[in-house]
Symmetry: C2
């Protein structure tokens, strides 16, 4: 019996992630593997840390990439900050708010859930009501860019509100980092996690995280050990420390970090604000084209994410048939609806390297032919 | 300010991992990223699962690659099987047994530690004493190939013993899979984890795991939720289910899995027993050369791992100077001592694609020139 190599086709990735990846990033990915304790590799990790600080707009010392996907980044924030008995406000307006709730419960903490309709932003007023009703809340957790619905929440106002009530904030920026305005220090975000495979346009498998000095203090003052050894940031930080101070924790995903390094170079060389602007421009192009096809957006315009466009499936179209035809006949991937929106929505991602004019023209042309 | 790409040198990786990686695996790694729910990708994941079963010599249905490094694979086994109050025998003869202990404690379980000297195998007799003294023990955990010392433990006898006392077994095969004899079903191993970056010679970042039907039953009968959402195997298995049954959990590290797929193709096309044999042959070549240089092994011959050669640093040599010269002048990486052996030992890995005659000749030549 012979085992054969896998040769994937070249797709245009316009779903909720992984996004289209630049040839430069794929090329960086396959550079020769060196040791994870090699001084040259440690130097590269230092650069990744510096570039992540610039991408997050933070000077947080505890900024690094978790060696696992965004869901592990989420878990990193919750298991390091929460202790059994803590009370947390979880804002839930889609799948990923629900996942935060799972994390809170598995930490032995108590969640106060503030729901918003799917496809809408988190309601700052309802969060304030919950804060007033629960003076013992320690953390407020919310998703900046809800990948399951395409809604953008006002994290700046949320953090400002949480601070007034003495709470720390935990923010999901998996789909927002690099795609829309996000200012960790200016907005006062205490713990944030993202993913490599969205607007950074790196391969999936890494999760950038950052913790404010106040969050680090909470970690230092813990009475119990972090329940995950692998995600324990007090141990991981000693591994991400520079040459001479570094102590072994796990083996970093060496080649994945090459790719993240390259994708951060691309983002910062383009310019962060320039990248946000490009995502908006491309969204406007797509919006015009979809409107011409009679396709409607789920999220109201002022709460809409440019990089994740959730639209109603036209009543005349078959969800699976169209997506299958896009994939098989055009090598285009768009996303299906998730959770409450399964079968009702398509999710069209214009993320990172994927947010280019030619991709929009291709998708609109294919949809025009198929619908 | 311009951010520059990172261009690593080509090293010969003869440390404790990551090991030398075949150009075919690096080439697979950088193939075009496709969606993690793409039918073609799901088909590839099915092949990875089948090939992992063949590499582990198991028919366990719950066999897959955790989307994170070996330390997360270890944690996957412990958090899924253990519940608070459970009692576990942890065999500790190096760093990784100590890490198992950390995992047991963070699960709220109780460990009975059976120590063996660093550089020696686990003592089956001492484990039996511990089993007799602790009739309420549910699990026995041990490291097959201790990467920190180069010692190989007799997992076959250990599992047979554990079964006599009604215990399930948890085995660390991070450095053993593909390099030495390992038979999950024949030996009766209940939970096993490995790493991609050792004798599989894939890039670091993935951890193959497998659970026996008895272990799966323990997971199904849990009274408490698994403390990690990301590593919860009942959720992860629904994600690794084949087309049509698959439900979203996290985003798989798509390109990393391409590389693992390719490295498994290489292993199985060579033949598992042939690979074990090659590791032994290369070890014998290295042993002869090191002996000629007056360098002595730490582990007694009958407990020695062929793929991880821990040797005493010659008294006339400076640890850091020699390793630095190997790295800078010859682009060769060997490993430093870890834990108790820091400053006293070198660890020379001959793993997977690294276990080749030319690497041994190169290393011996360089050592001869430097010593």
């Amino acid at each position: 019996m012979t085992f054969n190599s896998f040769t994937p086709p070249k797709r245009t990735l316009l779903g909720p992630g992984p996004s289209d990846i630049s040839p430069n990033v794929l090329s960086a990915l396959s550079r020769p593997t060196i040791g994870h304790l090699d001084p040259l590799f440690i130097g590269m990790m230092d650069e990744v840390k510096t570039m992540l600080q610039k991408a997050f707009l933070t000077s947080n010392e505890m900024t690094l990439a978790v060696s696992a996907p965004g869901s592990a980044g989420m878990e990193t924030c919750f298991v390091n900050l929460l202790e059994p008995g803590d009370k947390v406000i979880v804002c839930r307006n889609g799948v990923f708010g629900g996942r935060m709730l799972e994390n809170v419960e598995r930490c032995g903490a108590t969640a106060v859930v503030v729901d918003a309709p799917w496809g809408r932003a988190v309601s700052i007023d309802k969060v304030e009501e919950a804060l007033k009703a629960n003076p013992d809340v320690k953390f407020v957790a919310a998703v900046h860019a809800e990948t399951s619905t395409g809604a953008c929440s006002d994290i700046k106002s949320l953090c400002s509100l949480a601070k007034q009530y003495g709470c720390l904030t935990i923010v999901d920026a998996v789909t927002s980092l690099g795609g829309i305005e996000l200012r960790v220090d200016d907005w006062g975000i205490d713990a944030i996690y993202s993913g490599s495979q969205k607007c950074l346009s790196c391969v999936p498998g890494l999760s950038p995280v950052s913790f404010s000095p106040a969050a680090v203090e909470v970690i230092k003052q813990r009475k119990t050990k972090v329940q995950s050894w692998f995600l324990d940031q007090s141990l991981v930080m000693d591994y991400w420390a520079g040459e001479g101070k570094r102590s072994y924790h796990h083996t970093a995903p060496v080649n994945g970090l090459y790719a993240l390094h390259e994708s951060l170079c691309q983002l910062l060389n383009e310019g962060l604000e320039q990248s946000w602007h490009r995502h908006l421009l491309m969204h406007n192009l797509l919006k015009q084209g979809l409107t011409d096809l009679g396709i409607e957006f789920i999220v109201p315009e002022d709460e809409r994410l440019p990089q994740l466009n959730a639209v109603y499936i036209p009543s005349t179209a078959s969800d699976a048939e169209i997506r299958t035809a896009l994939l098989n006949d055009y090598n285009i991937e768009i996303g299906a609806g998730l959770g409450e929106l399964a079968g009702k929505a398509w999710r069209i991602g214009l993320m990172g390297y994927g947010a280019r004019r030619e991709n929009i023209t291709l998708l609109l042309g294919a949809l025009r032919a198929l619908l």
